[in-house]
C-alpha cells in the first residue's frame, strides 16, 4: 500500500489529536524504512530494533510540536532517526558502520540468501564500508529508506543539490568498488537472470 503525502499529513493531524489508529498507520507506513536506515548505521539488529522504537517514541513526544510548513513529514521523521543514531553511536563509542556493514554479511545468512547472491551482497557491504560517512548516509536515506532527495536533504540538514552531489559521488565510488563498468553490464546481459527479485520503485 502506498500513501501519498496528503494522506500522510492527514494521518499526522489525526495522530496529533490523539488518534491511536492514525499513529498506527504512520508506524506501519514508515517503520521498515526507518529500521533499514538505522540497521545500516548500527551493528546489531537488536540495536536497530530498539532505536526504531525509540524514534517512534520521540515522534509521539514531538508530534504536538510538529508543523508541516512545507517540510515533508518523512524528512522530519528521518531527522529524528538520524539524531537517534548519532546519539547512540556517540554514547556507545561505537564506530557504527565502517566494518559493521561488512561484518553483517558473514555468518548470519538467511535461507533466502543463496551462494551467488550472498557473494554479491557481501561485495555491496564491503563497498559501502569504503564510502565517506556522508556518502553512506545519503545512500542509506535514498536507497535503504527510500526517501526522496528533498526528504533526505531535510533529514540531513543539507541542501537538496548537496545531497544529489553526495549521491552521485557515492554511486561512482560504488561502481568502482564493485567493478561495474559499461563492459561488465553488457556482459551481464548474457548471464542468467538475477536470483533475487529486486525492484526499482522509481
Amino acid at each position: 500500500m502506498t500513501i501519498d503525502d496528503a494522506a500522510i499529513e492527514r494521518l499526522v493531524a489525526e495522530a496529533r489529536s490523539g488518534d491511536q489508529w492514525a499513529f498506527g498507520m504512520i508506524f506501519d507506513h514508515y517503520h521498515e524504512s526507518v529500521y533499514r536506515f538505522i540497521a545500516s548505521r548500527v551493528q546489531r539488529p537488536s540495536d536497530a530494533e530498539d532505536l526504531t522504537q525509540l524514534v517512534f517514541v520521540k515522534v509521539l513526544e514531538a508530534l504536538p510540536r510538529y508543523e508541516s510548513r512545507g517540510v515533508p513529514f518523512g524528512g522530519w521523521l528521518f531527522r529524528l532517526a538520524r539524531n537517534a543514531v548519532i546519539d547512540f553511536v556517540r554514547t556507545r563509542h561505537e564506530h557504527s558502520d565502517l566494518e559493521a556493514v561488512a561484518e553483517r554479511s558473514h555468518g548470519d545468512a538467511g535461507p533466502d540468501e543463496i551462494a551467488i547472491v550472498r557473494q554479491e551482497l557481501d561485495a555491496v557491504g564491503a563497498a559501502l564500508a569504503t564510502l565517506t560517512d556522508e556518502q553512506r548516509e545519503t545512500i542509506s536515506l535514498r536507497f535503504f529508506a527510500g526517501l526522496s532527495a528533498r526528504e533526505a536533504a531535510e533529514a540531513m540538514g543539507k541542501q537538496e543539490g548537496t545531497v544529489r552531489g553526495l549521491q552521485f559521488r557515492a554511486i561512482a565510488a560504488l561502481r568502482r568498488q564493485l567493478g561495474i563498468t559499461d563492459e561488465a553490464i553488457a556482459g551481464a546481459e548474457f548471464r542468467t537472470p538475477r536470483q533475487v527479485g529486486v525492484t526499482n520503485d522509481g
Partner: protein, 287 residues
C-alpha cells in the same frame, strides 16, 4: 527514486537487494516493535503526557537482556500485585488515577523476558486489571473502568505475543481470557443504576475484543503461532500444529462460572462500537 541508466541502475538493483535481504526487519521484529510502540501510544495518548516514555522504551532493552534477578523480581511482582489487589494501592496509583500509567510501567520493568515465568506474570497482571474493572464498575467510576480495560487489553496482547510458539502458554492465556469474558459479562449485566452508559459501552467493547481474541486463538490452533491484536503481522514461517492439551483446554462452551460481582441491577442496552483496524497492515509499506 529516480532510475538512472547503465551502471547506476545496476547499483540501485544491488542496493535494493542488499536492503531487502540484509537490512529489513523480520516479521516478528516488526510485530514486536508495533506492539510496544502502540502500547506507548495508548499510554501517552490516554494520559495526555509522554514524560516517561523514553525511559520505558529503554526498559524493553533492559528486559530483553534480563537475568535471573528479574525472574526473582517477577515473583516479587506477583506477590506485590496480590497484596496490592487485596489491600488496595495508593489512591493516585489506582485505575484512572494520575499515577496509574506509572504503576503499569513499573510492572513491566520486572517482567521476566519470556517462558512460563512471563506467562505467570502476565496472568497475574490480567487478574489485577480485572479486579480493578470490577471495583471501578462497582463504584461507577467511568475513568477507572476505561483505564483498567485499556490496560487489560494491552496486557492481553503482550501476553499472547510473549506466548507465541508456546502452545501451553497460549492455552493458559486463552483460559484466563475466557474466564475474564464471563466475568465481564456478569459485570455488564449487574451494573448499578448510577453507572454511566459509557461504562457499559466500555465493558461491551472489552467483551467484544476478548471474544474476538479468543476466536482468533481458536482459529489459529494447529496453524501458525498466534499474534496479538488486529495489527499484528502473521509469522513468516508457519509453525507446526500446537500439541493438544486436553486437560488444560476446555471447550469454548465450557465457561467456568462467572465470578460473583457485587453490583446491582441491570443497565441499559449495550452499544458496542467496533475498533478501527488499520487496513493493509500486514504488507510492507516502505515509502
Amino acid at each position: 527514486m529516480q532510475v538512472s541508466i547503465g551502471g547506476d541502475l545496476e547499483i540501485e538493483q544491488r542496493l535494493d537487494a542488499y536492503a531487502l535481504v540484509r537490512l529489513s526487519p523480520t516479521e516478528r521484529a516488526s510485530a514486536r516493535m508495533r506492539a510496544r510502540i502502540m502500547r506507548e501510544a495508548r499510554l501517552s495518548m490516554a494520559a495526555g503526557s509522554t514524560a516517561s516514555l523514553p525511559r520505558s522504551i529503554y526498559t524493553v532493552r533492559a528486559r530483553r537482556r534480563g537475568g535471573l534477578w528479574r525472574r526473582g523480581a517477577g515473583l516479587l511482582l506477583a506477590a506485590g500485585l496480590s497484596l496490592a489487589v487485596a489491600g488496595g494501592a495508593m489512591a493516585a496509583a489506582q485505575a484512572g488515577g494520575p499515577l496509574y500509567p506509572t504503576r503499569l510501567w513499573l510492572e513491566t520493568i520486572v517482567l521476566p523476558a519470556d517462558g512460563a515465568a512471563r506467562t505467570d506474570a502476565d496472568l497475574v497482571r490480567l487478574e489485577a486489571r480485572m479486579q480493578e474493572v470490577i471495583a471501578a464498575a462497582r463504584k461507577g467510576d467511568r475513568a477507572a473502568v476505561a483505564a483498567a480495560l485499556l490496560a487489560y487489553q494491552e496486557i492481553a496482547d503482550e501476553a499472547l505475543l510473549a506466548a507465541t510458539g508456546d502452545a501451553a502458554a497460549i492455552d493458559r492465556v486463552r483460559i484466563a481470557l475466557d474466564r475474564h469474558l464471563a466475568v465481564l459479562e456478569a459485570v455488564a449485566a449487574k451494573l448499578p443504576p448510577q453507572a454511566s452508559e459509557s461504562i457499559g459501552r466500555n465493558i461491551d467493547r472489552a467483551i467484544e475484543r476478548n471474544g474476538a481474541t479468543l476466536d482468533r486463538i481458536e482459529s489459529n490452533k494447529g496453524g501458525p503461532a498466534t499474534q496479538p491484536g488486529p495489527a499484528a503481522k502473521p509469522d513468516k514461517t508457519p509453525k507446526p500444529a500446537a500439541k493438544p492439551t486436553p486437560a488444560l483446554v476446555p471447550a469454548r462452551t465450557q465457561h467456568p462460572q462467572p465470578t460473583p460481582v457485587v453490583v446491582e441491577p441491570p443497565k441499559g442496552p449495550p452499544d458496542p462500537k467496533p475498533d478501527k483496524t488499520p487496513p493493509g497492515h500486514g504488507g510492507s509499506q516502505t515509502p
